[in-house]
Amino acid sequence: MTYLLEAKQLRKQYADKLALRGLNLQIAPGEVFCLLGQNGAGKSTTINLFLGFVQPTSGAAFVNGLEVATNSLQIKKHLAYIPENVMLYPHLTGLENLALFSRLAGFRYPESELLTYLTDAGLPPEAVRRRVDTYSKGMRQKVGIAIAVAKHAQVLLLDEPTSGLDPKASNEFSELLRRLSGQGTAVLMATHDIFRAKEVGTRVGIMREGELVDVRPTAALNAQELEQLYLTYMN
């Protein structure tokens, strides 16, 4: 089977800390894999390794079959990323930011299409032509979602993507993830939100001190069981 995301014995040692201890992970098309764990458990390091922002100490990360370390430019055509705190060029409008990042990703959309992406992501129509420095965190997050969706990537890497979103927007985002996974997009989402993970994830993995200590299909657990499982490992 072809995995869109794969980690083989992925290990990352920082100067003073072993952040990842031989991670093995495969995410197939259409899967939404949620990484749960405390701060410092290795969730963000995993995402950074898939993005090529840091180099593994040993092992390898693959995106769509391409090794990240040797294809750092090529793999970015296949993935989109939404960080916990989307930061944009503050003097540009939401529309201009989306146009810039889309062009860098290789897409040149007409304005009407850009507007659709932004409003579909939940940005109020009256805000799209305002400078981003007037936006709330949630509004910036929505532009980040629009940037990711407009890239039509096969892989979505999400690091606490709903941080700052109100419940309605979070639900809309969950709906978007379901739609994208239905279209074959593989999603790796690092989150602290157990209920969101249960809601949108197809599998959840619990990380602790750089290790993936447990992986379960979400269908096999209800929210309470998942919470209990998580707390068991955290304690």
Binding site: K76, K77, A105
Partner: protein, 460 residues
């Protein structure tokens, strides 16, 4: 390349939004225009002074014709008549004044001893000399690096600190492309300003259409590239913006202020030059002693130098002009070794600075621009040598009147030699400076590239 142009075009938007930088560019443009105005005004003032000198000479001659209506003793004329050795500026001097503000553009000469006349200059405002020239070369060499620092201290660090870099580098774009677009935009902006000012300066100063235009522009472009290379090295270290700013200002301070100052002190210690005042006092003592020496002793020493006048009559009078001019002349002879040592010492200092200026591109470029504009020390020394030769020719003109006891008539004024001297650019110095600057630029870019290779850009 496509991504490069996208990023390049957005850099323009980012720049427009940074009002402080736009204001700084405007201020630098105004400073550059003022520098051009200052330089052209200063050179125009010198030209006006030089243009007025023939009129002063005509008036002097007219006064002498009234004072001596008939044939006169050439000794009187030589004593009262003033001639001028003039150092005409090259048109480029308006853009790089160099030493033209501290060295005289003309020397007033009489038939007396030369050396003290050679170093006698008009009074100048010492505060003005201390503050230096605010010409275009000053703006380019000292102020442009500040603009480059202001534009480039946060090349990548601002995006990293604002958290935009993670989103930017999550796109299929190389960090090197982002950096290259940023550098290219800044280079375009800085060069647009520098070349605009250079062009305006050249037109304003009316420089001749020759190869020096290309050399000036090449120096300007390479110098801007040098400072952008320094910014690249600092960016490659991936420190916070505040650290970058301090580091770049430190480099500016080092290369533009500290190294030149230390070089000045070091060269002065390594190549001591006798003080001009010592030379002047020694000559004055020698001349004053001439009044008390036996005339035969003075004349015999003089005739050893000018044997053609040995057969002239023995001096028995209490005062005759040829004896007076002979001991004036011997005053110059007495200090000739010191005068030579002084000029050679200055030249050696200059040569040493030229050898060491690889340590500071700012000095290198300033020296190269001065050499191109013929406003450097060698140009001034060449003028002094020319003025010395002119004084020799005045002596050669007057001595036959004095020693043959020929009367000086009104018609003889027109036969008196005149002087003119225009500096020639030291292009060899400029080309050497250009080559050294090219090496500096290549070395600093290589360091930047090496650092980027060793330390891949971290978006967080």
């Amino acid at each position: 390349m496509h991504l490069f142009w996208i990023l390049f075009s957005y850099e323009w938007r980012h720049f427009r939004a940074a009002k402080g930088l736009v204001l700084m560019c405007g201020l630098l443009l105004v400073s550059g225009l003022y520098g051009i105005y200052y330089g052209t005004t200063e050179i125009e003032r010198q030209r006006q002074h030089l243009a007025a000198l023939p009129e002063l000479t005509r008036r002097n001659v007219a006064e002498l014709k009234v004072k001596f209506p008939g044939p006169a003793d050439a000794g009187d004329i030589g004593y009262y008549h003033t001639a001028f050795a003039v150092h005409h500026p090259d048109p480029w001097a308006a853009l790089s004044l160099g030493l033209r503000d501290v060295n005289p553009s003309y020397v007033k000469l009489r038939l007396l001893g030369l050396q003290n006349q050679l170093y006698a200059t008009d009074n100048t405002n010492p505060m003005k000399v201390l503050s230096g020239n605010f010409d275009l070369a000053f703006v380019l060499v000292y102020l442009f690096p500040m603009l480059i620092i202001a534009l480039s201290f946060n090349l990548l660090s601002s995006e990293r600190e604002e958290g935009i870099l993670v989103l930017l580098l999550a796109q299929p774009v190389r960090p090197a492309t982002v950096l290259a677009a940023k550098l290219a935009f800044r280079l375009t902006l800085v060069l647009a300003l520098a070349l605009l000012l250079s062009g305006v300066g050249m037109l304003w100063a009316g420089v001749p259409l020759d190869g020096r235009i290309g050399t000036w522009l090449a120096l300007t472009v390479l110098y801007c590239l040098f400072w952008l290379a320094v910014a690249l090295v600092v960016a490659a270290l991936q420190r916070p913006s505040a650290v970058n700013a301090v580091a770049l200002l430190g480099v500016w301070l080092l290369l533009v202020v500290l190294v030149p100052s230390l070089l000045n002190l070091g060269v002065a210690a390594a190549r001591p030059v006798p003080q001009g005042i010592e030379l002047t006092i020694r000559q004055r003592e020698e001349i004053h002693a001439g009044w008390d020496r036996p005339k035969a002793q003075t004349m015999n020493r003089f005739f050893a130098l000018y044997p053609q006048w040995r057969d002239t009559a023995t001096i028995r009078e209490r005062f005759v002009w040829r004896w007076y001019y002979a001991f004036q002349h011997l005053g110059d002879v007495a200090v000739a070794p010191q005068a030579t040592a002084y000029a050679q010492g200055l030249q050696q200092r200059y040569n040493l600075v030229e050898q060491l200026n690889l340590l500071s591109p700012a000095i290198n470029v300033q020296s190269s621009l001065n050499a191109l504009a013929a406003t450097d020390l060698p140009s001034h020394l060449a003028f002094q040598r020319s003025a010395t030769r002119y004084h020799d020719s005045l002596r050669a003109f007057y001595y036959p009147f004095l020693f043959r006891k020929v009367e000086f008539t009104h018609a003889d004024y027109a036969q008196e030699p005149t002087h003119t001297f225009t500096s020639h650019p030291e292009l060899a110095t400029t080309y050497r400076g250009l080559l050294k600057l090219l090496l500096s630029v290549a070395a600093v870019y290589a360091l930047g590239a090496l650092l980027l290779r060793v330390r891949s850009i971290n978006p967080r």
